[in-house]
Amino acid sequence: MLPANNNIKDMRVKMITLWINDKQYQAAEGQSVLQVALDNGIEIPHLCYHESLSSQGSCRLCLVEVTKGSKTIMTTSCTYPAMEGIKVQTDTLEIKKARRLVMELLLPLAPDAPKIKALASELGVTEPRLGPEPENDNCIKCGLCVRACDELVGAHAITFAGRGVARTVEPPYDEEAENCIGCGTCVQVCPTECIVMEDQGMERRIDKWKRTLKLKACKNCGRPFITFAEIDFMQTKAKNPPPEEWFDYCPDCR
């Protein structure tokens, strides 16, 4: 796992030189190859990478060929750190073939997701290699939601469970996710839109995490605007928590 690195503008960071597609680029030490490529306008398809999160390399779409010394390997660019003097190829025939294979295997997992479909047609994949999964929940197990919950929110509400084909993203013990605060970050970050969050009256439901949360109503206009769990979470986690009365009114009435 490569941690998220965003201190590119920090002048104290050591700069290194590497080659991507026979062109020389400068990069900050600690950046991944994918990050350097994207920063310089080189498109590499990716699904499980997010710049604010650590890289896991689970979607396998960002494959590139890296030559270090005399050795050439095909690897995921999101987990490969940029190093002095390495040569990276992002668009060779072998890579295209490998990416197509990955996409053919991803497609049956989420045949209805618009983003996956668009990316598949971009890569030239029309037919999935396997038939659709019998119990299809559109999840490609990229792990973005798990990482976002851990790193951006810090709630640690969801986790991976099972191994191999039985691997799923679920709340602990497949029961109601008690740490979930209903902030919606997982919904926002999901590439296949398989997590659905719904507000019904004074309740917020996230069925995938088996979670139902109570919403707090504004004292002035009476409309629900935040979950009680999120207020508690902010009060306990924040360095300088806002006073209790701050959450009495919604942002429109404050």
């Binding site: 306008g41 498109e43 668009a118 902030c183 919606g184 970050t185 926002q188 409309r223 935040i226 404050r254």
Partner: protein
């Protein structure tokens, strides 16, 4: 996604393509909107910007706030230039002069450059079906030259050319519904957005960029100087405009209406009008009349979004 969560917005891109240090007024809603739009558009983009506030504040010679290719064009032809750029890129790709890649072409203009002066060029570009995105930053008057009325100014608003006196009480006509005009062209994607709802705005820009053909996004940019509010009330005013029904947020995808920020019960329009200097002269009856009009339009929109 329009929850008030502070965590979900962290998923927006970190890289800034609209540099700070520009000369917009403190609390400018338009600069905020441009920043969010640029974040989503990324670096593979060509921007054609019409004359207006944003051109003035972001490009004082010899500096610029734009970290992407940016062309300043005359007031009336932002859409025409963007259309030309789109066709030009197509030719360059066909001839092999540049690599085959996705380059978005975006035209930006204020409400004057869209609804008044630039309407002809915009209509032409939408009719010809260029694969481009037109973003209108609507601050409801010609703010750059000193608050003159435009066709986008709402009914009753005070501007320097729609004064309040014995003969006339502010703007005499209703706001031109630009989004409906864009829908009437039968283009694949039309939306209204507001920087007070950043995730909603980001999703809409992404959809507009991905749409195959012309897309139009109408963004309400709260203007503290022109509307007579304090600079820290920008976000709040944007939210109130949406929650009171004065500026409903919806999208039209291939003719299918969808309200993206649904409001169960509209707030009284007074909440939105009261902090603004430009509506201070309105009497209770006049506000009531405008509110009736707003609610009627909201009901029509609701009916359309539920219709199919």
């Amino acid at each position: 996604m329009h929850s008030t969560s502070v965590y979900a917005v962290k998923t927006l891109p970190r890289k800034e393509y609209f540099a700070s240090g520009h000369r917009a007024c403190p609390g400018c809603g338009e600069a905020l909107a441009v920043r969010l739009v640029q974040k989503v558009l990324g670096r593979n983009v060509v921007v054609a910007a019409a004359t207006g506030c944003m051109e003035i504040v972001s490009s004082p010679f010899p500096q610029t706030s734009w970290e992407v290719p940016w062309i300043h064009v005359a007031f009336e032809n932002a859409a025409a230039v963007a259309g030309g750029v789109e066709k030009g890129l197509e030719v360059l790709k066909r001839k092999g002069k540049i690599k085959e890649q996705k380059i978005s072409v975006v035209a930006m203009a204020g409400d004057g450059g869209t609804a008044d002066i630039g309407l002809q060029a915009l209509s032409g570009a939408m009719e010809r079906g260029h694969d481009m995105l037109f973003v209108c930053y609507d601050n409801e008057a010609y703010m750059n030259t000193g608050v003159q009325r435009s066709s986008s100014t709402p009914f009753g608003a005070l501007t320097t050319t729609s004064p309040v006196g014995t003969q006339q009480k502010g703007q005499l006509t209703h706001k031109k519904n630009m989004a409906e005009i864009a829908v009437a062209h039968g283009i694949p994607y039309v939306a209204t957005a507001c920087p007070s709802y950043p995730l909603d705005l980001a999703a809409k820009v992404q959809k507009g960029m991905d749409a195959d053909g012309p897309a139009y996004i109408h963004i309400l940019s709260v203007c503290p100087s022109g509307w007579g509010i304090s600079g820290d009330a920008t976000i709040k005013l944007g939210r109130l405009a949406v929650q009171s029904g004065a500026f409903p947020l919806y999208e039209v995808e291939n003719g299918k209406y969808k309200i993206t920020v649904d409001v169960e019960e509209l707030l009284p329009l007074e909440y939105y009008f009261k902090p603004q200097r430009r509506f201070r002269h309105l009497s209770k009856e006049m506000t009531g009349q405008i509110e009736e009009n707003v609610r009627q339009k909201w009901q029509e929109l609701k009916k359309r979004s539920e219709g199919d």
